[in-house]
Structure formats: C-alpha cells, structure tokens
Symmetry: C2
Subunit: 327 residues, 2 copies
C-alpha cells in the first residue's frame, strides 16, 4: 500500500514535490491544495487540485501533508495548524526562528499524535546534518559553510525594489581562495567579504540612471554593503536566455585535528551542485515525508528535525537490503 | 556523570580511541584491555592496561566497550561474545559478511538488553551514510565511490609476501578524469581500471630480481592485475622518511536528475581527506559509542548500524542546542 501524500501550496516547491513523487514508487500524490481558485491551477502531471478549505474533509485520504508555503508568513501559521490533523513536513528556513517554530509545532503535533518534520531541505537540512556529523567526529575543529554558485531569491528581490530596475537576478558566489585555504587545513578566520562575492544581472528601465542603480545596489546594507559586488546591466532578452534557471548549492566543510598533539589533519567536505534549488529541496522533503509516515506508524509523535531521523527511515528499502547493498 | 568507555585491542585503532576520548569531555576512558601481557603494554596517556581475561569482572565500570580488533578473525568472535555483557561498538569492515555478522551480534545484544553498533568508521560508516542519503534524495541517479589517495594495508601486505621484498607501501589513487566526468553529470560506466590506479613503493632485498618483483606485483590477481599499477623501488630510509603515514580518504558521489523530463542535474559529493586513517576511524567510533550508550539508556537494544542512529544521539549537545546552533 502506497504512502499517500498531498501538497499545500503550488509554487516552485510544490511543483518540485509533484515531480519528485513520481520518482518514488512507494508514494502516491493524491492532490494539490491551494489558496487560489482551484479551476485556475493546472498541475504538471494532472494531479487533482482542491481548495485549501477542503483539506480537513480529506484527512483520511492523506498520510503526509507536504507544506510548500514560504517561511516568512505561511509556515509559522500553517505548520502548527495542520500538525493538529496530519503528519506534516515543511522547509521552514528562517534559522533564527527555528526554536520558536519548533515549540509551536511540537505542541500541536504531540497533542494530535502526529509527526511534524520541520526545516527539511538542504540548508537547513542536508547541510545541517553535515555540520552535525562533522562536529561530532572532529571535535577539535572548525566549521565552514559556503553557498553557491546560486541564485538568491531574497537578494534578487531586493534589487528589483530599486527605482529604475525592471528585473534582476543575483548570484551568490563562493570565493575560491577561501575554499582553497580551508581545504589546505589552514583554518582561516574569514570575514563576510572573504567568503562570498555577489554578482548581479540587472535589466534597467528605459532612461533609468544606471550609475545610481549600481551605487544603490552596492551600498545596500545587509544585502550587499559587506560584499564585493559586481553589477552587469543586460537586456530583458539576455536575462531570460541566460538567467532563467534557479541553480544553487554550496559546501559544508569541517577541518579538524587528531592525535596526541593534534598532529594529524582531517577534512570532511560535503558539496551540492544543483541545477534546480526547489526541485532538489523537494526531493529531500519527499524522503522525509516517507520517514514521517513510518515514524508515526511506530507511534512516534511531535516535532522532529533532520537530527532526529535515523537515516534508514528515509529509504524505501528494508533494513536487510540497506545493510547488504549500501553499508 | 561521564560515559565510561573501555578499549579492547591496543593497535593503531585502539591508540586512536585513546586520543579521541580526550577530545570528548563527556567521555572517560577507564582502561585498555589486551591479549598481551599487560605489563608489556604502555599506553600513550597512562590509561591503565588490563588483561582481556579481566574484562567481565569490570562489567559494572564500563558503559561501552570499543572493540578494536581486526575484521578477519577478531571481530566475528569478539563482537557477539562481548555484546552479551556490554554495549559495544566495532568497525567490522568485510562488506560481504556484514549480514551474517549482524545476525550473530543482534541475537547476542538483544538477549542481553544491550546495544551493539557494528561496521562503524568511514567505509563502512560515513561513506555508507552518504550513499544512503544520496540514494533517498536523488532517486533517479547513479552512485560512485572512489577511495584514496591512501594507503591500503591489504595491498601493502600482499606485496610484502612476494619473495625478495623487504618492505612495501601501496597507495590507491582515484583517477582524476573519472572524477571529473562524474562531477560533470556524465554518469559514466567505469571499469575497475578507469576508477583507480595503484602506486607501489617497494624496498627490495639485496640482490633481489627487481624486474621479477615488479612483474609479480603487476600481474597479481584481484590485487593488481585489473589496475594500472606503477612500481617504484626505493630504499628503506626513503620508505621510512616519505611513507610512514597512514593517510586515506576518498569520495562518495551521487549524480541524479529531477524534473518532469529529468531536465535538471544534481550532484552530491562527500569527500574525506585524512592524515590518519585509524585516528579518523576512531573519532567516528567514539561518537557512535556515545550514541550506543544513550540509545541503550532509552531501552533500545540489539545490533545497530549507522543507518539506525538518529544523528542527534552522536552529539554531546542537547536537542535545543543542536537546533539553535547547527540546524
């Protein structure tokens, strides 16, 4: 019997879940739920679309609800709300607010006897796991996380809000020298500017003052002022042709020492190179949806993160198959 | 109260455990147990040495016994034997025999109400985990494991058994072109010869026929015949000066596709670069010793592998601290 999953929110992440579900024989996508008028939403694979208001009435047809809303305003409401009725998985990624999100979700899920898996994806998610494993193994060491090369939606949006900007795409790029130094075991102290550069591709409105736009980008506090930023003005056609993808990725490194005097150096490096950030995130969510269902079947309840999930729960294979083939 | 661990077997791995324990404030190494005459064994840090025959009498002073014997003859006996009395951790690495080892150990540990963590280290171990995570996330994909550059003890030993060889060290080296092709998402089919080369540093006995030795190495079935092998004859002094370390490492890669038509490529790469193979392995064992103790405190019993351990058990930090700092 397949695990029945449903999607709430049909943006890039929701579409990613729809595609990822098809790659997993033991999962069945039973529906997409949306705040929009269902008749206006057409799914990629013909999965039926329902109004969000119908969700509770379909409670018994859904094993895990995958929440595909945003971290700013959707998930802080939706995850605790739906954890009262469903096993849920979300990709809540506002790192600073995870403890408070956890608390709200944990109460809801425990009360309902459900599992709620939060902050699943790659950062938080797979990167967090690699920080944890690295820290536990190399106790005397240093952590590094680099992001990119990849599109930052938040930074692209910030540029678009500047007067005279028609469209924009921003790439976060790790600085090769910094990576090289970390890999060499030099344990450098790296400033924000030494870790990443920011590359901006900007379409200006006709007649706009490009010099002013460039200046406003480069001096924007928090977003760009602390980085070496380059700004390229291009046409809308070039933006569509060359910058339509949503690639991302990055590196988690743990550099540490062992031995009686710390005489031996070690490096653990985890790298992601992703053509599509939302589709990869969706693949992680789907694996953890499987885990949520299986853990709940074993009577576990409450809010969980990637730290709480024994890896075997993620796989459709049996424990025997895993030991024989992957160990 | 600290978790009390003990070591059985005081070779390179045992010494690594001794060093690793000092890097973990919540662990206390209470003793080294050996088959040798205890008076002849001197520990690096002054930890007391006992005869193996004293182990059972110290049962109540030991929370986890770390088994540091070899996979060929020691662990198949020791792990089931001591799982009847202690929580144990081993680094059993004969991949093909893991299912049968698991079965013997599981019965012993369950009968005694203990946890027995087997096949812990980096391969099996951290590499296995990365194969599992990669497989669960990128369902439509391909796995690659490369080893090295590093010293293969088994291959070095095989060379030493050839007549006329005084000493030898063998390095397994991943082939850069193969790695490049995998990283480019080309999903190549790679033969044994296309993945690794073997570099041998050999000290010949005086008057030995070097041409014959080289020929015997290069044509040795299983060990060298399927690889491009280079043989360097060097002096004993050079061997000691340049090849005394036990470095190792390697790569686990998962290359996969997502999207409606598999139009987006993704690469997950996990890399280890280790100055000391046994010391790194020891660090992993110590983290899983902590997990074994904590899982047993929660009344879990039986044989476990890295697949069965929720990552949070590995860390001395609380769940709250982990969520706040590493997620």
């Amino acid at each position: 019997m397949k695990i029945k999953i449903a999607i709430l929110g049909y943006g890039n992440l929701g579409k990613g879940i729809e595609c990822a579900a098809r790659q997993n024989d033991d999962l069945e996508l039973v529906g997409v739920f949306t705040r929009r008028e269902p008749a206006t939403v057409k799914t990629l694979t013909g999965v039926p679309v329902y109004a969000e208001s119908e969700l509770l009435s379909k409670k018994n047809e859904i094993d895990v609800l995958v929440l595909c809303g945003g971290s700013a305003t959707d998930l802080p409401i939706q995850t605790p709300q739906y954890a009262k009725h469903f096993n849920v998985v979300d990709s809540f990624d506002t790192h600073a607010k995870i403890p408070e999100h956890f608390k709200a979700v944990d109460e809801a899920a425990k009360g309902a006897g459900k599992i709620a898996m939060i902050s699943v994806g790659w950062d938080p998610g797979m990167f967090s796991l690699n920080r944890l494993y690295g820290n536990c193994i190399l106790r005397d060491g240093k952590d590094y996380t680099f992001w990119g090369k990849g599109v930052s939606q938040g930074h692209s949006d910030a540029i678009r809000r500047i007067e005279g900007v028609k469209n924009a795409k921003q790439y976060t790029v790790p600085i090769e020298e910094a990576l090289t130094s970390v890999r060499a075991g030099e344990n450098p102290e790296l400033s924000t500017r030494q870790k990443h550069t920011r590359e901006c591709y900007v379409v200006a409105k006709e007649g706009a003052d490009k010099a002013r736009i460039e200046q406003e980008i480069k001096t924007m506090p928090n977003y760009f002022a602390d980085y070496d930023t380059t700004v390229h003005f291009i046409t809308e056609e070039e933006l569509i042709r060359d910058h339509s993808g949503i690639p991302h990725g990055g590196f988690v490194l743990r550099s540490g020492k062992t031995g009686l005097q710390g005489e031996n150096k070690h490096l653990i490096e985890y790298r992601l190179q992703l053509d599509s950030n939302p589709e990869f995130t969706a693949c992680v969510l789907v694996a953890y949806a499987r885990a949520a269902y299986r853990m709940n079947q074993e009577n576990m309840t409450g809010c969980k993160t990637v730290f709480d999930v024994a890896p075997a729960y993620l796989s459709p294979l049996s424990a025997e198959e895993l030991r024989a083939n992957l160990l």
